[in-house]
């Protein structure tokens, strides 16, 4: 029975993803997040320490023979939870999902007229990146983007604290666009075409 469940979990990725997206990742790290809290802003180093500790406690290599599967499952869940929570964008998405707000799926199509200016800005900046000749040209763009991301994260902290999920959702979508730019900037090379991978 257990073996079947394990195999099923392993072989069907979509189910896997769905399963993990409804689980509260915060609850796996009771030391960092005591009293069932789900803060958006916290000390990532503390989380990392607890993650390493938990992983070594439940390392599959040290599992008793009959509990190997549970250990493996737990270890993989911890990996997923940690990589989600340490990243501001994934963390925001996770918090929204826990609150019943989804950002995935076919919501890609709605475009608000009020977004036009926002899209224009993004397009302009990406074009500037494309036209950059040297890394020096990128510096002001990188600085501006880091500031933008920092300010979004601080606004997200407020939104989640006041449980204003609609605002949090808007901010998270914006953060996604700027994170794409951040990656573009990181992977930039002279004359290299810009293409996202996701």
């Amino acid at each position: 029975m257990k073996a079947i469940r394990f195999l099923a979990r392993r072989s069907s990725r979509p189910t896997n993803v769905r399963f993990s997206s409804t689980q509260n990742f915060y609850s796996l790290f009771p030391k960092t997040f005591n009293n069932n809290t789900k803060p958006f802003n916290f000390d990532v180093r503390e989380l990392r320490n607890e993650f390493i500790k938990l992983q070594s406690q439940h390392h599959p290599d040290h599992a008793p023979q009959n509990e190997k599967e549970q250990y493996e499952e737990r270890s993989s869940t911890l990996n997923k939870a940690y990589s989600c929570l340490k990243d501001p964008l994934l963390r925001a998405e996770h918090l929204l999902q826990l609150a019943g707000y989804s950002l995935k799926g076919d919501q890609a199509e709605h475009t608000d007229i009020s977004d036009q200016e926002f899209y224009m800005t993004i397009l302009d900046i990406h074009e500037a990146v494309e036209e950059a000749q040297t890394e020096k040209d990128l510096e002001p763009i990188i600085t501006a983007n880091n500031d933008r991301i920092k300010s979004l994260i601080s606004k997200l902290t407020d939104a989640f604290e006041s449980e204003d999920y609609n605002t949090a959702k808007d901010l998270t979508v914006k953060l996604r666009y700027w994170k794409n730019l951040e990656r573009t900037l990181r992977e930039w090379g002279p004359g290299k075409p810009i293409m996202f991978t996701h």
């Binding site: 076919d106 977004d115 036009q116 224009m120 993004i122 074009e127 979508v173 996604r176 996701h198």
Partner: protein, 173 residues
């Protein structure tokens, strides 16, 4: 299959039709050598600009069309910052709409793009983004004409047909 999709557009220019390659190569081809990348003057009364984004993945797409006096799309340009499928979708779209009436272009479904490029289910939203972009460009063109006091040549807001236009629905060949 492929041919039948293409033939739905009467105005499709013929050069690229015999293409017996795998679909995957077509996507590759479009995003490695994207067609019609660029900008049209967005203040031009004959130009419509569509600017759309995909909240689910953070892609941004700009599609511009130039409409001639017969209400047909004479030129299309795009700029997309997104994944390979989004780039390929918009690149293919600029070829597809070439020579189309606005009515026909407005009726393009994302499934046509997805089929042509053989997009996997997780990338369907890229073709939806392209469909949104052409609709948004047509809207922009038409509202711009309305504001300027010129009736749009075709479409729901079209006034009584003038000598150079045909009434909507009767898109002539």
């Amino acid at each position: 299959m492929l041919r039948s999709i293409r033939l739905t557009s009467q105005a499709w220019p013929s050069p690229v039709v015999p293409m017996i390659r795998s679909y995957h190569q077509k996507v590759l081809d479009h995003y490695q050598k994207p067609r019609n990348v660029g900008t049209l003057d967005k203040t031009d009364i004959n130009v419509g600009t569509g600017l759309v984004g995909a909240p689910a993945c953070g892609d941004v797409m700009r599609l511009q069309i130039r409409v001639d006096e017969n209400g047909k799309i004479s030129e299309a340009k795009f700029k997309t910052f997104g994944c390979g499928s989004a780039i390929a979708s918009s690149s293919y779209l600029t070829e597809l709409v070439q020579g189309m009436s606005l009515d026909d272009a407005g009726r393009i479904k994302n499934t046509v793009i997805a089929k042509e490029l053989s997009l996997p289910p997780v990338k369907l939203h890229c073709s939806m983004l392209a469909e949104d972009a052409i609709k948004s460009a047509i809207n922009d063109y038409q509202s711009k004409r309305l504001k300027a006091g010129k009736a749009p040549t075709l479409g729901p807001q079209a006034s009584t047909p003038s000598s150079t236009t045909v009434s909507s629905g009767g898109a002539s060949s």
